[in-house]
């Protein structure tokens, strides 16, 4: 797009926009699906000429630079998955001051001008934890496998988790570690837990199916596991008998919602600053079977067409093609 798109407030269907995306975790299934959803939405809307991806493994300082790069390259709106809650505020305000709205998906940022589109991560942490503690009858040793250290979503989930924990004095956390939302790390930590301690239940921040694999192959008795709505995990919950667990919904396609919001803003529609999806705890076989989609990428969620926000079809996300690709 060119400069006057920046203040795209003047509406007008035929003008086209450029979306910028800043993601700091590459090669992660959840993030990949998030990006595919953004591309799909951009394509579905038909008024996006290009999606500029700033997509690399880096830290806050790196993401600040990346967002500046996106601003420099004159995108009309920026969708970020924030590496830090408040460190990005200044650069986000800078973008806003240049007429570029910033939409933070998956996790909140404290910047007043930022739009926030996410699953409610505090809820995510809490509902899953409560389910687990109930399943353990309020008694026992729990391994707490968190996400990416310092990521707002991780801290929010921790808030929820701790809130739940406070109500269950009988529960003891015997293991706490960060998986960095990396399945292979999850597997390793699973092995560590198997070999070096005895636990009654495991809460994971969505690194679930590789963990379960470790249990099944180690031939160790399963303990209740809380994970996310990863297709592979759901399959395990359905097929493996003796495995009890709950999938807490955390659809990556929230990225698509972010893109939708961004474009609504650019098209001059009025949009809420905050769009929260309330996570659901799914543990009943029937519901699980309803969620399962054969041969979908292991780490992906089948919940893509998030009504009423997105206008793409599931297939478009799977194809993962943006405008002009």
């Amino acid at each position: 797009g060119d400069d006057d798109d920046a203040d795209g407030g003047d509406g007008g269907g035929e003008e086209t926009f450029t979306l910028g995306v800043s993601n700091t975790l590459v090669g992660n299934a959840w993030r990949e699906q998030m990006i595919c959803a953004i591309k799909a939405e951009a394509l579905a809307r038909g008024n996006v000429d290009r999606v500029v991806l700033q997509n690399r493994n880096t830290d806050v300082a790196g993401q600040i630079a990346d967002i500046q790069t996106l601003i420099s390259q004159g995108v009309d709106a920026i969708i970020i998955n924030p590496a830090d809650r408040s460190a990005l505020d200044d650069v986000i305000e800078e973008a806003a001051s240049q007429g570029i709205p910033v939409i933070s998906v998956d996790a909140p940022v404290t910047a007043p001008s930022a739009y926030f589109v996410s699953n409610d991560q505090v809820q995510y942490g809490e509902v899953g934890a409560r389910w687990l503690f109930e399943a353990l009858g309020g008694e026992g040793n729990v391994a707490y496998m968190r996400g990416l250290d310092g990521h707002p979503a991780d801290t929010d989930r921790d808030t929820g988790f701790q809130a739940a924990l406070a109500d269950y004095p009988g529960i003891e956390i015997v293991y706490e570690n960060w998986t960095g939302w990396d399945p292979s790390v999850g597997a390793q930590q699973g092995l560590e837990i198997l070999t070096t301690m005895e636990v009654d239940g495991i809460w994971t921040s969505g690194i679930d199916y590789t963990l379960v694999e470790q249990f099944s192959v180690a031939g160790v008795d399963f303990v209740p596991v809380v994970g996310a709505d990863n297709n592979a995990f759901i399959e395990q919950l359905i097929t493996i008998d003796g495995l009890v667990g709950a999938a807490v919904s955390n659809p990556p396609s929230v990225g698509g919602v972010g893109a939708a919001v961004a474009l609504d803003i650019l098209e001059g529609k009025t949009v809420d600053q905050q769009t929260l999806l309330i996570p659901a705890v799914v543990s009943e076989k029937a519901d699980l079977e309803a969620m399962f989609v054969p041969d979908l990428t292991a780490g992906w969620s089948s919940y893509m067409e998030i009504a009423p926000y997105v206008s793409y079809t599931t297939q478009m996300v799977i194809d993962c093609k943006g405008p002009g690709e």
Partner: protein
Amino acid sequence: MTAAAPQSLVASTVPWKRWVRRHGWTVGIWLILILLIGYYATLIPRFGGFQVASIVNNGTPLVFLAVAQGVIVIAGGIDLGVGGMLVLSSVSAARLMEGQSFEATIIIAIAILIAAAIINAGVGWIITVSNVPDIVITLGSLYVFQGLALSVLPNPGGGTSDGFRWIFTGSSTGIGTNPWPAALMIVIVVGAVSWWMARTRSGLSLYAAGSDRTAAYLSGIRAARVKIVSYAVGGALAALAGLANTAIAGRGNATTVGGNHTLNSVAAIVLGGVALTGGVGSLIAVVPAGLILFFLNPILTAMGVDPSGAQVFQGVLIVIVMAVTGILEWRRRRRS
């Protein structure tokens, strides 16, 4: 030197002294490994086949990677790219082997090993024609391999055959109580490679080139060819480490940081007593060194040290071990 010379020569090296100097390190490092395992056994509730298997199996990739680095360093180079090669081979395997029969996966594995050897030979070739320091070119190859890995497998996935997983892990699921296949694998591969290096002319020429380029040159060894060979062998071994990775995880993951693997491989050969200046060292000692490095993590977790502590510990270990042996060695040199 007069007629006296020969006596003094013999005198200056009592057989056992020489033996200690030659193999002391190897023996020592094996002992340390055994002690560590014993200590670990006391730390955890139960210590059986499963625990042993999980150490041997999961240690295999680092062992192979360390041996890869060892071959190249002994020949006078250093390959920062091995970690990248591990990741690249691992994800390529995961992508190509998904849903294939056992036979097919074996063929794919062999193809990958060959490809890796050729690619890394190319790296060695570039080093020789450009005579740019190894560390520079291989820094480049590290980036390249890591990047290629990401484009081969954008997000974690792929798969392999049960039989293939069994070869490296003694179980079709990658985990179990059977350490033997992995152990055998290590013995055969490392045994073969170190026999080749210590006994055959072509192998010895790696030591020669690493030890003294001109002298090697004058004894008719073609430094360029040696370098290329060492990189080819190293590349294949690094790829083997990658295959082991895939067999263990049952899938590939391009986000694995190749750089860290490289650093660990260097740490391992250093612990294994391979001189980074080239020409000196035994691959037999590199095996336990690799296992120890892998092994630190479980031990420290069992001891309840937190991850950051674990890292500090690993660093301090390397520094202390190296510094101490360095000082001793230097003392020895000074004296004799």
